[in-house]
Symmetry: D2
Subunit: 279 residues, 4 copies
């Protein structure tokens, strides 16, 4: 009954019997939801032109198909670095020009959707915004694919209802991103809900990717979580990497160096092959 109820509440997000996977295309080369697993790499925040371009080159070399980087950063404290904003967008566009990687970047404010859409190839809705309904409606009205992260305490059912806001507004290009949930366990920053990947691949037609960086919060465990995500059936990975993590203005301890990123990619490629996919 709960399930029936949910489906009515999110009729576009749930998979109808026999409905095939939705393919979400970004740029001319990237496609989420197919046989090929999509690797997105890049820093937590855009900090300088050199930082974003050099990191973009490094992740491209390691096999990343897209570049991530925050221009507007949602931070717990008002006194933490809030991002370079418009300037960050310009830097991202420049890094794209150099590497040919499409860009995904977060939009926080419904008033910024137009501005961010003018540059980004894909709009990210962050964990804290998963139930920011005015924002969901606004990206739903845009023509850009959307990366919808799960909230730290959002149920799968609520998450699909959030996706439904975007779908119902006319934008069918939604990719879900599991990034760890909040539990009593504090050994890692969050608890990666790898089971959610398996459940979602069954109940929704939308692509599902995983962010092992925010789940782990510790660079030493990112590769293990990334491998687990691929093995469970994830359609992609969103991984924080920084050309010089020790100098990062945010998320320093969970960012991979280019070497670590390469190593993680190699491992994930093997696991992908083991389950009949490519990366």
């Amino acid at each position: 009954m709960a399930a029936a109820h949910s489906k009515k509440k999110a009729a576009l997000a749930y998979r109808r019997p026999g409905q095939p996977n939705t393919l979400v295309e970004v740029g001319s080369h990237v496609c989420f939801g197919g046989e090929k697993i999509v690797l997105i790499g890049g820093p937590c925040a855009v900090e300088s032109q050199k930082q974003i371009t050099d990191t973009a080159k490094a992740v491209a070399k390691a096999g990343a198909a897209m570049l991530r980087g925050g221009a507007w950063k949602p931070r717990t404290s008002p006194y933490d670095f809030q991002g370079l904003k418009e300037e960050g967008l310009v830097m991202l566009a420049e890094a794209r020009k150099v590497t040919d990687l499409p860009i995904v970047t977060e939009v926080l404010d419904p008033r910024d959707v137009e501005k961010v859409s003018a540059v980004a190839d894909m709009l990210q809705i962050g964990s804290r915004s998963v139930q920011n309904f005015p924002l969901l409606r606004e990206v739903g009205a845009s023509n850009k694919p959307v990366l919808l992260k799960r909230g730290m305490m959002t149920t799968i059912e609520e998450w699909l209802a959030a996706a439904e806001y975007i779908l119902a507004a006319g934008n069918s290009q939604v990719v879900l991103c599991e990034r760890g949930i909040r539990t009593f366990e504090t050994a890692l920053r969050n608890t990666l809900d790898v089971g959610a990947v398996a459940v979602l691949k069954h109940i929704t037609h939308l692509p599902v990717i995983v962010d092992p960086s925010h789940a782990a919060g510790d660079f030493r465990y990112v590769a293990a979580l990334a491998r687990a995500a691929i093995a469970a059936g994830a359609d992609g990975l969103l991984v924080e990497s920084h050309w010089r993590p020790a100098e990062a203005l945010s998320d320093a301890c969970q960012s991979l160096t280019p070497e670590q990123f390469q190593e993680m990619t190699d491992q994930c490629r093997s696991v992908a092959a083991a389950i009949g996919r490519t990366l």
Copy 2:
């Protein structure tokens, strides 16, 4: 060390040694944070002029000092009733005229802050918006007192950092509202964190009130949670009441009838007296 860190991150929200309670005034008669406990009553959503006015009269008669009622409703599903919006504001204003009760109503979208501020006496930031930073900045720039609800997944530390966004933007009139957190226990809709009230009264100078309706999710348990909140030191209560709960468009099962609201108020008044306060 964690505590020292937090205080730096939210220096305005934490209580400095010896700092007295902040008093937050709404209209000419209501004051949060003093000896008198503030009772806010009203429906989940404004549904019609008759519904809001009749409910306002009933809660006023029972001792409520303020009226609540949602004009914009954040709903999990896009297909649920989303509120009467501007029309709801007009009805709230009319109910205020009849009862003389100041109004608190939720604002969801930074673009609506000016519009809502023009009518409401106090702006409510709902649970799902507690870390909606653009919205916090916008209400911080307004001259209206703000009721900041805790998120279902927000730690006390994060909640105070959210308050800091408002305080740092120049608005010192913030009231915190505990409304239950999400845990493994599903017997009630949420788990009221009554200990958070005790902790907050110690570590912050801001007033702290409790919403027992969303914590319980069941009218049968609202009065018990309300009494517990008062006993723990809460400065006020935000309670859902509806003149005809069975006809409510949302939160029907947790709304009190006028008679139940009166009974709860009487009980809370006794408990308030027992700890040397009035209601």
Copy 3:
């Protein structure tokens, strides 16, 4: 349907329509479940004859009706103080002789039930043992009243099913004790689920008491949680007190001094009176 299922699984623990509260008597003077609220005080662990007797005198003077004190202590680490065991029981008996307070003490091992029953007036099943089924069956076969604490992770439904093990074994004298659950919030040691008290008073006929000490984990917040528990309808309180908390071998930071214990009792007595009960 979930509720119907539960009731079948715990038919003796759930309240049948119209079934009155069960009264659980301990010794000749103490009765749980009636109008009078039962206050149990004493140290976490029995440490010496002087410590337990002096603490017993202090809590008796403040109005406690029973004495608590652990002889066998369940400790997370094998290297922490594990209790004085049989020697502790002898000391408890001596403290009872001096103060005339009945004793409740924890039993951890089914092999110790007979030994502990020979001395204690009431057997405590600790949080970590709430689903220790062999132990539940053993205390169910004893003729002593049982204080059954909720586990840190136990749902109300599972807790009543645990009580059912005792009831089904023939022992109808069970008192439930809420002591805080484990959640994501770490400001206090646990999150007191004050709503569970309200729910239990409705769905079961068994008495329900609250341990505010383990919920708070900090002496500064014990009185506020105790007042909240009484206001919500608890039938009793289990509070850690120590004649010299700074010297306690365990739970030092959550134990009340005799003066703090007296102050808390006075406050709870007022709240009890406000809801028509005595303490």
Copy 4:
């Protein structure tokens, strides 16, 4: 500081700098903690000689190295099937004779440790017993390897302290088993904490295996969780299988048929190879 504290509290369980993996041997053929991943299969409970023997043959054929099956079952309700007890042990021994698979079975009561040790090759401590300290001491004094499951709400730190009870009692043959933790998400029975596997492989020298069946609670998701566990570095799997799941007396919906078990094994074997291990 928390970490330093933990290590003191569980000095034998934490990995000392440079300390190699502990290898835990069961019977003459099985070894946990080496390059080869150990697959344990079998039913939740032993129900009949035919059921356990036929299931044992099926899992052996699919590549299982050990047989699981409960003779004493810890059940939430006293009215649920509690296991065949001594009779179940006899049936397990017979199934071992037929298949040559070593047996792991749960012991619930410290008084049963000797009896179970006389038959079983490995003793299982179930989730609800992870902090049953008398039981931990008793299996610590036995000469059998121990499979220590994590509790539904046990932190990694508490879990290692529980292992320390066994190690400190003189038994160094401990295998840890992650089986899902309790969170707010109810789509699956529990949330598999795959990150715990990665953390434990780093901080302890003990082998770590995963039970995907209890984590999923649904046969459709067991294989995905099993693959994820292997990819994250688990040293083994504990998987419920039943020759006729629809007839199982417990855990029917999470048990794999022999065909599903075979399919899962094949998939896990590929993933194991991808990370340089065998199964």
